[in-house]
């Protein structure tokens, strides 16, 4: 189930990695007609699926007999700036004790993805948070309201976790930075 770091380096210099010692053979077998790319992570196997097939793929992973990924651990996104936004799903199988990370990359001009609430209800609030923090739109979501952002002010165009959203200016409080040059730039 788990992988070793050393294997990655050995694989780079030696033969191409077949991922045979992970759950990749089962995953590959399950995800028929889905263009899936494996990657070796530090602890789990990571697979990349294109956005159009993601819900189909997740459903297959959930309902497969050998894998049974019935527990969605976490759903989040990573902003890769020019390379788009990665939506990351961490899956777990309770009966088989298996882990899997599923990633899909959305281009910056089309951050739209189908909702995973039809697969696991756990995705409900996790998608709401990802939507408001990264600007990803999950179509057919049953309750697309902001989760953590203020609801009395309309902040639907603010996506705080994007890299383009700046940090706040740090004010110099009285007494702090005594002895330092107050006009110097504050290091973020």
């Amino acid at each position: 189930m788990t992988t070793e770091d050393g294997a990655t380096e050995a694989a780079e210099t030696a033969a191409p990695d077949t991922f045979a010692d992970t759950i990749w053979p089962d995953v590959n077998r399950t995800l028929t007609a889905v263009d899936v790319q494996p990657e070796r992570g530090v602890l789990d196997l990571i697979v990349h699926i294109p956005p159009a097939d993601i819900i189909r793929g997740l459903n297959m992973l959930k309902h497969d007999e050998a894998l049974q990924f019935n527990y969605l651990r976490s759903l989040t996104a990573v902003d890769n700036e020019a390379d788009g936004v990665d939506v990351v799903y961490h899956l777990y199988s309770v009966p088989k004790n298996l882990n899997l990370t599923v990633k899909t990359t959305l281009p910056n001009d089309q951050k739209v993805l189908d909702t995973a609430t039809t697969v696991w209800r756990a995705a409900d609030w996790l998608e709401r948070e990802t939507a408001e923090m990264f600007g990803v739109t999950f179509t057919n979501h049953p309750d697309p309201r902001p989760l953590l952002m203020p609801e009395d002010v309309d902040m639907s165009d603010t996506h705080p976790l994007l890299k383009s959203h700046p940090f706040a200016e740090i004010e110099l409080l009285q007494g702090e930075l005594l002895g330092h040059n107050r006009d110097a730039e504050v290091e973020d």
């Binding site: 819900i55 189909r56 309902h63 609430t117 039809t118 697969v119 696991w120 209800r121």
Partner: protein, 390 residues
């Protein structure tokens, strides 16, 4: 008409009544403040902390400090609150409690008036404060207050019946001497009820009734485990949430005054009041003072029991408390009244009352235990959302 008071003959009866009322009001205010302090201290000791310690020696002036603070507060009224309902509600809660003091016998001859229908009067008057609770809840223009007021009314009305029936059961069996050594059964006069207990207190004859009275009194006083109308962790104060300052303190004082009356009535009806164990043959000081001490100890025991229950027991939900009253207490009390009647009519030995009472106590415990350990299935919840399979 003229009567005597304190050995002074020929006092106008109205003046006599006024003096008695003033004494009672003064006495009651002081005692209520002492009760509030006692409760805080005792509750704190149960919870392994100290309670008030700073104001006055050992914190004894805490109640006075609280009273002064409350007097100084601004008297708020919500803008949309109905003015008459909102402002009259505290009076309707407070005044019936004071009226109840008329018949409470502290010691033989130390009371405001002896009423032949004392118990009936007490029950009738104490039922009026429910109207006050509803007025407070409705007049506050606040949802939480209204919920609390409705709950209080439902609870108050439900527990009136076991309370009344328990007093009826006791009133049925007291023996009243009617000249010539004849004994008549049945009296609502509190003095006669107490006098009849000069050898054996009523708790021996009616143990089940005593327990039911304690439970019903807890419910009428809105105290844990029946304090859902003022459940602090839910409706945050219930019907009194919008009151501040003196108005709020009137509710608070009414609660403790009612607690005081219930303690005294309990001591009078079930534990023998001033008559047991010193008996009515004791007259004038120091006999009277011994009787006063006996009454104080008995009502103090009830008071301590109430606080003990408050410190240890969770709160019942409104539907549980209603079903407990209507389905458990009321049938038990009706059965007890029936048994009392049978014993009176057929002149059976009184020990039957004790036996039946003890059986009833055991039955009560068994019923409660079974209900709790084998709960009936709850109303079916709304079907949860199913994730649609693709």
């Amino acid at each position: 008409m003229n009567t005597e008071i304190f050995g002074i003959e020929n006092v106008n009866v109205w003046l006599d009544a006024l003096i008695r009322v003033l004494i009672i009001v003064g006495f009651m205010t002081v005692v209520v403040m002492a009760l509030i302090y006692a409760e805080r201290k005792i509750l704190a000791r149960f919870q392994q902390r100290l309670g008030p310690t700073r104001t006055g020696p050992v914190g004894t002036l805490q109640s006075i400090a609280d009273a002064l603070k409350l007097i100084g507060k601004e008297d708020l009224r919500p803008r949309n609150a109905d003015p008459w309902t909102f402002e009259l509600a505290p009076f309707l809660v407070f005044i019936p409690v004071f009226l109840g003091f008329v018949i409470v016998p502290f010691v033989l001859d130390w009371q405001i008036r002896v009423l032949e229908l004392g118990l009936l009067y007490f029950v009738a008057v104490s039922g009026v404060n429910i109207v006050g609770w509803i007025m407070a809840g409705w007049g506050s223009d606040n949802r939480y207050a209204m919920i609390g007021g409705m709950r209080a009314a439902a609870q108050g009305i439900s527990y009136e019946l076991p309370l009344v029936l328990s007093l009826v059961a006791v009133a049925m069996i007291v023996e009243v001497p009617v000249g010539d050594g004849e004994l008549l059964r049945g009296s609502l006069n509190l003095n006669e009820i107490i006098a009849a207990q000069h050898e054996v207190p009523n708790l021996v004859w009616q143990p089940l009734v005593m327990i039911v009275f304690i439970i019903a009194a807890l419910a009428e006083l809105n105290r844990t485990p029946f304090d859902i109308p003022v459940g602090e962790s839910e409706v945050v104060g219930g019907p009194f949430v919008e009151y501040s300052g003196i108005r709020w303190s009137m509710f608070f004082l009414a609660e403790y005054a009612a607690l005081l009356i219930m303690s005294l009535i309990f001591a009078a009806v079930f534990l023998g009041g001033w008559a047991w164990p010193f008996g009515i043959w004791m007259d004038e000081a120091p006999g009277r003072w011994l009787q006063a001490i006996a009454v104080a100890i008995k009502s103090g025991a009830f008071f301590f029991l109430i606080i003990w229950i408050r410190a240890s027991v969770p709160r019942l939900r409104i539907d549980q408390l209603m079903s407990f009253s209507w389905k458990v207490l009321l049938p038990l009390m009706l059965a007890q009244v029936l048994v009392n009647g049978l014993v009176l009519v057929y002149d059976w030995p009184e020990i039957i009352l004790t036996a039946v009472g003890l059986v009833g106590v055991v039955a009560l415990f068994v019923i409660v235990d079974r209900a709790v350990r084998h709960p009936r299935p709850r109303p079916a919840p709304v079907a949860p959302l199913q994730s649609e399979a693709v």
